[in-house]
Symmetry: C2
Subunit: 361 residues, 2 copies
DNA sequence: GTTGCACATGACAACGTAGTCAGAACCTGG
DNA sequence: CCAGGTTCTGACTACGTTGTCATGTGCAAC
């Protein structure tokens, strides 16, 4: 059969287990058993039921099932409603991992910048009926998320005022990877590295900024002033204009690739060549990063792996878990190397020949 | 109250209308009326009920509601599971427009490249219970989508074997905008324009290719051979290498910005300057487009507006529409100008001075 | 004072499924 | 042969809500 003739058809009642049961000559309960793959159904009956179900185009009614079981086999994902590469990748990865487990995903984007937008999005999801909520890009709205519900709320990163156990991803990755990028620059011989951070309310932005501080402090260097942008290329461009006024800047670590793009552009327009005069790093490794002019040194993220690992924890707790399940999952160390060195970084201009710092490690 | 102590709590039964009714001293049916904003409830009772509901933290059970009404107030969106800027933007816009109407969105990403993946995703959504399905990026899998259901299936673009009425967006936009970009190049004096298309199975890619052909044919020019990529910068780079072997190439129109980035890179590495020796256009106007080297001439898409308009049609038909509702909605002409001219396009190298073609129109 | 209608509320059934329990059919071992 | 289990099946009910219908109340028109 194909789609119906018109959009406004009365839409007849879809077949239910009762219809299948009648056709197969068994009880509704038996159909239920077959559909749910329960034990104690003879192969013969199972076959008969499946045939009947196929013939009628039967699809179990999830509403009825959810009503009686009290569980929806659906999770809610709160996303920030941007088409940013990182969040978008994460969301796709989340859906994949989830569907594989027979769980569906309902998304809710937060209204940008609105205070309480996250709580609002969570409330919306709870009203839709979900077994768990995952906050995809945790941000700090000032007050902790506080919703009256028994539905577990998780966060893909630190913060949100949730108990630590609800943090599905180690914050260390951002911090450590960011530090690694900065150390790469310091190793090249740069005296200090400027940092163009993401919005301060994003925990991911804070962690990357902290990694940048770590790198300096580990060498006893006072970190220079921090710049902040909103992840956009435009913000990177503005930050670039700002930095151009300081002739001493030789290296900038950006909190994402998009801002790095804008920043590089500002330098290019001003005739400050990258990487000859100024080195720039990004974060994310967007697909275009390798093809920019110059190709961008950046940090690769592992969204797919992160999502799978994170969701493992969520899904395991859905069905009414064994309570003594192995709480401590592998949690990959978060310190895996992931810096991708390309052509946007080089030794600073004044140290001309030789490769100082290369042996500094 | 805050989240519960532990993830594995027994999760007590959430309050229902019966509980609210008991507390408010009315019947359960009256609670239902208040919750659904029905007429014929005295202000006094309404107040009492709302207070009780608030006190108990009552949230209506959508499963029970869906069970009896047969409608879920939820739509399914089939997405291609890429973090591409276009699709990601569309998805965000869809969710926004939908939530504003009190309808939630469940996403299903197709398994890349698998035949029948779209039908599979639709089937999954139908099993979850949705009132309509929207295919976000229509592609041609060879055989038309054919699912046995009364749930309406729409497509954000031509194709998919669905009846024309199910096409929510005019294909003209892609075709016309692409033509416009090519005409811009021809007007600059380029003799012919190469085209780096998206995958042939994407209808959007076909439409953009057609627009490119249109532009040539309108001037009686035989369009040169078509190149095809997979939307990725890497594909653009490979196409660039290919084109480098032809010294006569002076202009390339790419079907999206990412491929344009890769292509520009290939030319840059080979010393063929953009735009001095070769002009390049993109499509989408990703945020980074204005900050690339050189800034990219491209076509701006209006995802938000498209999504709102498209969903208007879907949502209007959900509740059991008036049947004689104004079927013909504005359908903005799809020919709105949207070319954003930046620095990646210029007259061809051999015609040095003067600006030929500028008056060709 | 009765009729009629708008307003306000509640009792009851129904939606399609899964849980509970009972019972039938069939074994196995004594 | 029966006791006691395992396998298989169905009748009945509950889940939390909305739809239907009945009932009651107040007020205006006759």
């Amino acid at each position: 059969m194909s789609p119906p003739l018109s959009g406004e058809t009365p839409r007849r009642r879809p077949p239910g287990m009762t219809d299948v049961a009648r056709l197969a000559g068994v009880s509704q309960k038996t159909v239920s058993r077959v559909v749910n793959n329960e034990r104690y159904v003879s192969d013969e009956v199972r076959e008969k039921v499946l045939r009947a179900a196929r013939e009628l185009g039967f699809r179990p009614n999830t509403a009825a099932r959810a009503l009686i079981t009290g569980r929806f086999r659906r999770i809610g994902v709160v996303s920030l409603g941007t088409a940013l590469y990182g969040p978008a990748s994460l969301q796709v990865a989340l859906e994949r991992a989830t569907r594989a487990a027979g769980v569906s995903v309902t998304v809710a984007n937060t209204a940008e910048g609105q205070p309480g937008a996250v709580a609002e999005a969570i409330e919306w999801l709870l009203q839709q009926g979900v077994d768990a909520v995952v906050i995809s890009e945790p941000i700090d709205e000032g007050e902790p998320v506080d919703v009256d519900t028994d539905v577990p709320i998780y966060s893909l990163g630190q913060g949100q005022g949730l108990p630590e156990a609800r943090n599905l991803l180690p914050g260390e990755f951002n911090r450590h990877a960011s530090r690694e990028a900065v150390e790469h620059l310091l190793d090249l011989g740069h005296a200090r590295v400027r940092h163009l951070a993401g919005p301060g309310k994003w925990y991911a932005a804070r962690e990357r900024a902290q990694g940048w501080r770590d790198a300096h402090e580990a060498r006893g260097i006072e970190p220079p002033p921090l710049l902040e942008g909103d992840w956009s290329p435009a913000a990177g461009y503005r930050a670039g204009l700002e930095l151009l006024r300081d002739p001493d800047v030789t290296a900038v670590a950006c909190a994402n690739d998009d801002m790095a793009i804008g920043l590089v552009r500002a330098f290019a327009e001003a005739g400050r060549a990258v990487p000859e005069q100024v080195s720039v790093t990004g974060f994310d490794d967007i697909p275009a990063a390798a093809y920019l002019t110059p190709p961008l040194t950046t940090v690769r993220q592992q969204f797919e792996a992160d999502a799978v690992r994170a969701l493992g924890a969520v899904l395991r707790r859905l069905p009414g878990a064994p309570a003594d399940a192995p709480e401590a999952e592998p949690r990959t160390d978060g310190r895996a190397r992931s810096l991708v060195v390309r052509a946007s970084t080089a030794p600073p201009p004044n140290r001309l020949k030789g490769e100082p710092g290369k042996d500094a490690r």
